[in-house]
């Protein structure tokens, strides 16, 4: 489909024409080539983070929706009336509302007080309430309303109807629309009503703005969404697909906040099938090219050095990535549901976490990856955030094998990775600590890998230096790099690398101002490439965290 978004005006004839996106039947050939490791790394990190963020967004929207509050109040009311306890299919409520064989009218008035039954209802309806239910045997329909006593005036807070198929409710004070809940499979319908029904309207109605942006979390939401739009998908439909099919349940699992308070836990279930479609959407989006440009712009300096091609352009990189884009499909099993845990404290998301089985490219094995975003309460996103990527035990998802944590406290990024793994049957412990200041561009990094059974089997790396990357330059200067591998001869070297590919003359190789290193040229290049690959991934994460 020609995605040209243009309108042409012919000044002479004042004629306006559109290049409309008419549907076409074929989807085109899918180019799948997963051999380009750089692209795989970028996409795996980017896409995984995207999936977690989308889930996070979806939940934020649902959670902050005023309609969700209404729906939650409705659900809460039903639960407190004892309906949900009896059956999960809503039959008890139907029976309750439609049980009378003749015309009947039930009226209940509650004037406050502290009876056992009244406590919870008082929370909902203030100093008192009245409820009226009427059953019409001719129409086979029950109807009623619940009114809160505000002063001496009854104000209708909930109106409902019920026929033999559905329960309809609305809160006239807040919303004139009726929320329909079919009795059959009532509570999954409830969830889909909240998410599918309302999310489906995001594209078109004012609710879109009310739900997302008129909240205290606007700034965070906006920055995250912008990040997504800039880097991956500016097409709202991509995210919408997920929102439509996400199901939210509250769990007993909590999360302890910094001040020792307990955050509420919610579980968002994402359907694997939809994720596959979602990944296809992203691929389509990328194929169209436009969304790829900002990403290419960011990684261009690294790509130029890696490919040793100073003439590489954004368009060229886009083409390269498109040609080598990995297939996202294997990352999600369409027959499986994925859970994302979200922890909420004082109406603010403080942590979102999901565990995904990620098949390794060109390998029959899979790796379980835990993705986690934590936002300490009461702070701006960029002030302090923790982005955590952890490889977890593929069988016992709660067991972490390697946990990486990057913290941005506003002054410096701190990297911390600890864990253990087995290599050729031998148990290893790994730990890494690092710090990077965006202001001074100084970094320090210490990495240690040890064989638990044979202490001499170890490797340690320690380095300090300067690393900075702008839109068109990469400056890396390792003032010291000490490698002590397996107790063998220590390897020390100084590496200074100052590269500014875009400013170099056409065809000229990137400039290395100084190089002091004991290995030969090839080994140097290999090590340098690995460092730069790491830098690329780190830069992507830093951008993700820093907004």
């Amino acid at each position: 489909m020609d995605k040209k978004k243009d309108i042409n005006t012919d000044a002479a004839e004042e004629e306006i024409s559109f290049d409309l996106n008419m549907p076409k039947d074929d989807d085109g050939d899918k180019i799948i080539n997963s051999k380009n490791r750089l692209h795989i790394i970028v996409y795996v990190i980017a896409f995984s983070a995207l999936a977690a963020l989308i889930a996070y967004l979806a939940f934020c929207f649902a959670l902050r929706s005023p309609k969700n509050t209404v729906a939650a109040a409705l659900k809460s009311t039903l639960e407190e009336l004892g309906c949900t306890a009896k059956t999960s299919k809503g039959e008890a409520l139907r029976d309750f509302l439609l049980s009378s064989p003749s015309e009947s009218f039930i009226s209940v008035t509650y004037k406050g007080g502290k009876t056992d039954d009244g406590k919870s209802l008082k929370r909902l309806f203030g100093s008192g309430f009245s409820a009226n239910i009427k059953y019409d045997p001719t129409e086979k329909r029950a109807s009623g309303d619940i009114a809160a006593n505000i002063g001496n005036m009854p104000v209708s807070v909930l109106e409902f109807l019920a026929d033999n198929k559905s329960f309809y409710g609305r809160a006239p004070l807040i919303e004139s629309l009726w929320l329909e809940i079919p009795f059959e499979n009532m509570f999954s319908s409830y969830n889909s009503s909240v998410l599918s029904g309302y999310m489906g309207r995001f594209d078109f109605t004012q609710d879109f703005s009310a739900d997302i942006f008129n909240t205290s979390s606007l700034r965070d939401m906006k920055s995250v969404r912008r990040l997504l739009a800039d880097y991956f998908c500016s097409d709202n439909t991509v995210a919408e697909k997920l929102w439509e099919n996400a199901y939210v349940t509250k769990t007993d699992e909590g999360f302890e906040t910094e001040n020792g308070r307990k955050a509420k836990g919610y579980c968002i279930t994402l359907k694997g099938g939809d994720l596959s479609e979602f990944s296809e959407d992203i691929k389509d989006n990328i194929k169209n090219g436009q969304s790829l440009m900002p990403l290419a712009h960011s990684i261009l300096p690294i790509a130029k050095v890696l490919t040793k091609d100073p003439l590489m352009t954004e368009e060229g990189l886009c083409s390269l990535i498109e040609a080598g884009q990995p297939d996202f499909m294997p990352y999600f099993d369409p027959n499986k549901d994925y859970d994302v845990m979200v922890y909420v404290y004082r109406k603010k998301i403080i942590k979102a976490e999901g565990v995904f089985d990620m098949p390794l490219p060109e390998s029959p094995e899979t790796a379980a990856i835990r993705l986690s975003l934590a936002f300490p309460s009461g702070r701006e996103l960029k002030d302090k955030a923790v982005f955590e990527v952890a490889a977890v035990d593929a069988v016992d998802k709660n067991k972490t094998a390697l946990k990486t944590e990057i913290t941005n406290d506003g002054t410096a990024y701190r990297l911390s990775a600890h864990g253990s793994f087995r290599l050729l049957g031998a148990p290893y412990n790994v730990s890494a600590e690092g710090e990077y200041s965006a202001d001074t561009s100084q970094y320090s990094l210490d990495v240690s890998v040890k064989n638990d059974d044979h202490p001499s089997d170890r490797a340690e790396l320690s380095s300090e230096g300067i690393f900075s990357m702008t839109e068109n330059s990469l400056n890396f200067s390792a003032e010291s790099l000490d490698i002590d591998a397996m107790g063998q001869k220590p390897l020390s070297a100084d590496i200074w690398l100052e590269t500014n590919p875009l400013e170099g003359s056409a065809g000229a190789a990137p400039e290395r101002s100084k190089k002091l290193f004991t290995p030969n040229e090839d080994e140097f290049d290999i090590i340098l490439d690995e460092i730069k690959k790491g830098c690329g991934s780190l830069a992507a994460m830093m951008q993700l965290i820093g907004g």
């Binding site: 995605k3 040209k4 978004k5 243009d6 309108i7 005006t9 004042e14 004629e15 306006i16 024409s17 559109f18 290049d19 409309l20 996106n21 008419m22 549907p23 109807l161 009726w178 599918s196 029904g197 489906g200 309207r201 594209d203 078109f204 109605t205 004012q206 879109f208 703005s209 997302i212 942006f213 008129n214 606007l218 906006k222 969404r225 912008r226 739009a229 500016s234 097409d235 709202n236 439909t237 919408e240 697909k241 439509e244 959407d281 989006n285 090219g289 436009q290 969304s291 440009m293 900002p294």
Partner: protein
């Protein structure tokens, strides 16, 4: 694929049946203007067609596919201008546009310099917060947002309300160009001038949609 839109016996019930049996087929380049008194269900019908509301009966088909089975089709095929402007009031005009626009930054710049955003006069107010805009400006922005991704179907709920004469004329000119480009428009309106421009005039009354002759009196 002859028909772009096929509405088959669609009904919607709140307390009463607002829409009883709505059927309509529209092909490429068709401009249907729907008239009807207040409360006749015009907005409900457009909400169903835009996917924001589910019908209680009947079937909706766009380009041979049921969008309620694949809701992405709504976003792909339909641009919708609801009665209330779907804008984010606390952010700028440009930010609103960026959230909806699915193209690149470069393409967006082009739209500002020579495309629909320029035509709607939005280039000069791109950095203003939506909450500071007049009703007419908000309306122009809403219409631009509906058109910005070039959907083949455009649904408009009383689109020229609150617009001054110049922009009413501009909107109608844009719609004519849209129709000429193969787009399909369904709009609700009270403005009798739209009857002259539309290729088809319909009346929604008592939950039923009927074709009117162009000369036939609408609110007789």
């Amino acid at each position: 694929m002859d028909n772009v839109i096929e509405i088959k016996h669609i009904g919607k019930k709140y307390k009463e049946w607002v829409l009883k049996d709505i059927s309509l087929s529209c092909s490429k380049g068709e401009w249907a203007a729907i008239y009807g008194s207040n409360g006749s269900g015009k907005t409900t019908l457009l909400e169903i067609l835009s996917g924001s509301r589910k019908p209680d009966g009947g079937e909706l088909v766009y380009f041979g596919r049921d969008p309620f089975k694949n809701r992405r089709l709504f976003s792909e095929y339909v641009g919708y201008v609801p009665q209330e402007d779907p804008l984010i009031k606390d952010v700028s005009v440009n930010d609103n546009i960026r959230l909806w626009f699915s193209g690149s930054k470069k393409e967006l710049r082009e739209l500002y310099t020579g495309g629909i955003l320029k035509l709607m006069g939005l280039d000069s107010i791109k950095n203003k917060r939506v909450s500071t805009l007049s009703g007419g400006m908000k309306r122009r922005l809403s219409i631009a947002l509906a058109l910005i991704n070039n959907p083949p179907i455009l649904l408009l709920d009383e689109p020229v309300t609150a617009l001054d004469i110049k922009y009413k004329a501009d909107v109608r000119k844009i719609l004519k160009g849209y129709i000429k480009s193969g787009g399909t428009v369904i709009m609700t309106t009270h403005d009798l001038r739209d009857r002259e421009l539309a290729t088809r005039v319909l009346l929604l009354k008592d939950g039923v949609l009927s074709d009117l002759d162009k000369e036939e009196e609408i609110y007789g």
